[in-house]
Structures are given as C-alpha cells and as structure tokens.
Symmetry: C2
Subunit: 327 residues, 2 copies
C-alpha cells in the first residue's frame, strides 16, 4: 500500500490530481491510500479519499500530518499571489513558514525512524520565482529574482526543500508550474484571471473582458497537464536531478491573439465576439513583468509533457470542465 497525502487537496489542482490518482493510479504503485488535507473542501468535490481539515500554519498540524507516514506528499497549499501582496504576514506565514514546519516535522520523523522514512515530496512552485528583465526564452540556468512576495516565498520553499533533500531527510522536487489555463469555475481576482476568462466565459455564452493587448505572450498549461506533472514527479528518479531539484516545466507559449484564433477555429466567430477589449493599465503593468517563454530542456528530457497548441488546451477544458448546461 502507498500512502498519498495531498496538502491543499481542496483546491482546483488538488482536486484534479485526486481524481486522476483515483482513476489512473500511479504506475508502479499498487493500492493508493489517498488523504486530502485543506482548510475547506468544495461541496461537490471529489469523492473517495480520506479528508482532513486544518491550518498548516498552526502548531502541531504538520506533525500530525507526518505521523501517518505518507509515502508521497503533494504540497499544493498556498496563499495566492494577489493576497500575498496585500496581506504580507499571512503570505509569509502560509507560504514560507508552513513549508519550514512541514520539513522540520519530516526531519523529526526521519530521525525517529532511524533514517528509514524518507517520503517523496512534490511541491508546486511557480514561474513567479522569476522576475524581469527576461531573455526571449528563459532557460534552466536563469536566475530566480522574484518581484512579488509570493514568488519570493516559493523560491525560498524550493531552497529549503532542496537542502532537506540533499541531507536525505526527504526526497523532494519543486515544479515551477506555468499559468494554469483554462481554469474552471468563476473568474477570480488574480491579474492572470483573464487568460482563462476570455476562453471560459465565451464558451459558457457569457461576455469576457480582455484587459491587455492581444500581442501579450504568456506561458500556459491546462489543469489536466498540471495534474499530470504532479503524478509524473511522484515517480521521478531524483538522482537524475543532480542536486537541482527545482524544474521549469514545459508549457505552451502563445499570444492572446493565438488564444483567440484557437477559440475561433473551435467555436466560431460568434463565440469570439463575446470577448470585449477594455484595457486596464494596472493589469497591463503587472503582466508586463511576467515570463513569456521558456526553454525547459531538463524537464522535457525527464519526461514531463504539456500541450503543444492552444486548441488542445481548449479541447481539454471542453472535455473536462465545460458545464453540460451553459450557465
């Protein structure tokens, strides 16, 4: 039996991952026993795994989670970028200190087990660890100089996970996820929300606002691909990482115009007409500071795969997340 713990299992990616593991399992690991941990869970969420609720930043919670000796831990819990910027203390507390407490709890379990208990930890980092100015394509040796608190907290968590892994207390991998698109559900307050909104809303028969120029280029992967990255990282041979345990993942670099072209090809001009351009200087400024393209050689050579066209990303949304009856 393999014990799997998904911290942040109530979130969108956590739910996708849980569904995937229940449906497909993890090749090479028989009989998964899955536990989801989060502060809250969606009402109509995935069924089947065990659930635990709590706040990782509270004393003892990390030790409690570790006491079950999970074999594979997915750590997805985070305060998102926008909130980390407006609530400085909360961001550092959840995004950095929780990682520290978790790793210390694992180190304690390692000691208690005389070094026999070394779980795989898959941590969702982000391309927010990068800050401009950028080269045309960001390669695997480009510096991490984040320009948000969220990015700094993710970069710090990567460094902690890497060093605890180097010492042998855990066996960790950090995945720098592309922007996840098309996100199901409602628009949120993230500056990146429109990348999903301009596809999702028209597909649901609703208008969407495009706040930036159509020439804006960005780096995308679907929720299905994100879940695939996580599952792939769970069984990666980490010795092949040669001590560099943070990976830039593959994604699709495309412009907003290319997103819209794909939507037109799949659903026609009427659907595209629901996109209304209304430039927002604040969002334009934020998005200017974001990475546009990568050359993720290492992750590709390690077998991580992503979409190669935005058409694919739209088809994934339609297949997995488009409500049967448009809202």
């Amino acid at each position: 039996m393999t014990r799997v713990l998904i911290i942040g299992g109530g979130g969108m990616v956590g739910q996708k991952l849980a569904k995937r593991l229940i449906t497909n399992g993890l090749p090479g690991y028989a009989d998964l026993e899955i536990t989801l941990f989060d502060m809250t869970f969606p009402e109509k969420g995935v069924a089947g795994p065990a659930f635990k609720t709590g706040n990782l930043s509270e004393a003892g919670v990390a030790y409690d989670l570790v006491s079950d000796r999970p074999d594979i831990v997915f750590h997805l819990a985070a305060i998102v970028s926008g909130e980390s910027e407006t609530n400085f203390s909360k961001g550092w507390d959840i995004n950095m200190m929780s990682m520290w407490h978790l790793l210390e709890a694992f180190r304690n379990a390692y000691d208690k087990s005389d070094g026999t208990y070394v779980p795989r930890i898959v941590f969702t980092s982000s391309i927010a660890v990068f800050g401009g100015p950028f080269p045309e394509k960001i390669d695997d040796e480009f510096l991490s100089a984040p320009q948000t608190s969220y990015g700094a907290q993710k970069a710090i968590s990567e460094l902690m996970l890497s060093d605890f892994s180097r010492k042998g207390y855990v066996d960790g991998v950090s995945l720098r996820l592309p922007t996840i698109c098309v996100r199901p559900g409602k628009a949120n307050l993230a500056a990146s929300s429109f990348f999903s909104g301009i596809i999702r809303e028209p597909l649901n028969g609703q208008e969407a606002i495009l706040p930036v120029d159509a020439s804006v280029r960005h780096w995308h992967a679907s929720p299905r691909t994100a879940a695939g990255f996580l599952a792939h990282a769970a069984k990666l041979d980490t010795t092949s990482l040669n001590g560099r345990r943070a990976l830039n993942l593959p994604g699709l670099s495309c412009t907003v115009e290319e997103q819209i072209e794909a939507l037109r090809r799949i659903c026609g001009q009427d659907v595209v007409d629901l996109i209304k351009v209304k430039h927002d200087p604040a969002i334009i400024k934020i998005v200017e500071g974001w990475p546009r393209n990568f050359n993720p050689k290492r992750a590709v050579s390690l077998g991580f795969t992503a979409e190669t066209s935005f058409d694919e990303i739209i088809h994934t949304y339609i297949a997995e997340d488009l409500p049967k009856t448009p809202a």
Copy 2:
C-alpha cells in the same frame, strides 16, 4: 549623526570594517556613531565603538537592536559553512531565522514610525549560493542552486531581504563576497582555509600544506577589499539595482599556481619552499564544487572594485596583518 550597527562586529571582516569606518568615515555621512554586536569580541580588537553582546537567535534581541534605530546596518553574523553542514539546526537557526527575526523587527519599527524609518541593510552573502555545474565565468543572471546548507541559508536571506526592501520596509543590498584571502590569524577548519594558509604560513616562517592540485582556480578578494565592498554598499543608490538586490562582486580569479608565483615574486623561493603538497581527497572533492570565475558586470558598473593581481592581495596582507615578529 549617522548610527551604524555592525551585526557580527566581532568577526574578522566586522573588525576590518569597524576600523575602516573609524579611520575613513563614510563619505557623505558626518559623525558616525558605531555599535558592534556579536556573541564575543576579540581581546585585542578594535577600540572606539560601542559594544553589545548577545545571540541574535534569542527572542527579543533583534527588537532590542532595532530599537536604537540604526541608519545603516551591516549584517555579517553567520555560522560558517562547515559548521552549518555538521550542525543542521544551528545553521538554519542562526543563518536563516535570525535574518527573519531581524527583518520582522525592522518592519515593526517601520510601522511604528509611520513609514519614516527605513534603514539601509548591507548583508554579506556568499558565492556559496552557487552550485555546479558552472559555466567558465558565472554571469549576473546565473541561477542560485546551492549545494550546502550555508549556501541555501544565504540565498534564502537574500530573497527575504529583497522582498522586505521591495515593500519599502528596509533598503537592503546582499553582497556575494568572494573567498576572503589572505585571512589573518590561525588556520581554521574550513575547506577553503588552505587558500590563505599557503600564503600566510610561509610569510610567518611556517610550513603550510597544499591539499589540492596547483591548477585549482578560485575567486578571491582581500579582507581590506571586503570592508571596502561593505562601505561602498552602504551609500549605493539602490534604485539603480532595479529590484535585483543581490550582487556578484568583483574579485580575482587565479589558480593556486598563480598564488604561489606571486608569493615567489614577492618573497623568493625559500618562502615558497615552505609549501608542502599533500593531496587530501576530501578537500579536493569539496573544492571541485566551487565557483572558479565570474563576470560581475553589474557590481563593476556600480563602482565596486577589487584587486587585479594576487601580488596586490599579498601586499595587502603584509601591510595590514603580517605580525611584526613572525610567530
């Protein structure tokens, strides 16, 4: 009056810096009031400044230091590389958590002052934030992938200082110092100790062991230059850093053979004959993982300067630190 606080003021570089500030002042800042903070101070150390002793990792100590509202803070205190590797908890506690507590104390003072108190913080980071494989020369955009706990703790402290600075709570700069050579005093247990030892010991009429091949290349700066870097960073216009507040500093890239040639030029073959080659596989392995050369364009353009020959570095040691009566 300008209040200067040197955290780690009892150490070798802290003492050099204090002497420099007492002698030269800081151009543009009249009337320095200098306080040195450390756990202990050398018996025959610098005289003149105020002294405070304490442990930065203890509760309240950071708040106490900050309550004096220093204008310029040099944060040099650290558990060295070797001890951070053998005493994992102590390294993280002193090298990471102390930085966190210090920054939180400064943020508290910022809030209390209604945002009027924003000290300059100059933090001594290290080329240990880098891990191999390396390019021929490390440029300003090369990733930080440390392969020691010390390097991870320094890299994390840089990220924290950068984000607290971006938010305006402090105005920080992290300096990635080259290996400091020739260190005065006795050999220590650091793997890098021989770089100083093969110069210092012969100059003092004593034998020195060279544990690596003479072809080994490394990145050096003198203690005097290190103090100069710190003083320069205290008055840097940080807006010119464009949000990238960690700097690779200039240094001298040379081989051990070039070090020895310089010693021969200055002191003759008899002195060089005191160097005995005795290869140490453990040290050879560690040193293989270290940076050899840099292209520190940004720091050079910001006015940081270092030695351009190893002869200069030896002359600096002779002028500043060689005991009048050889030991």
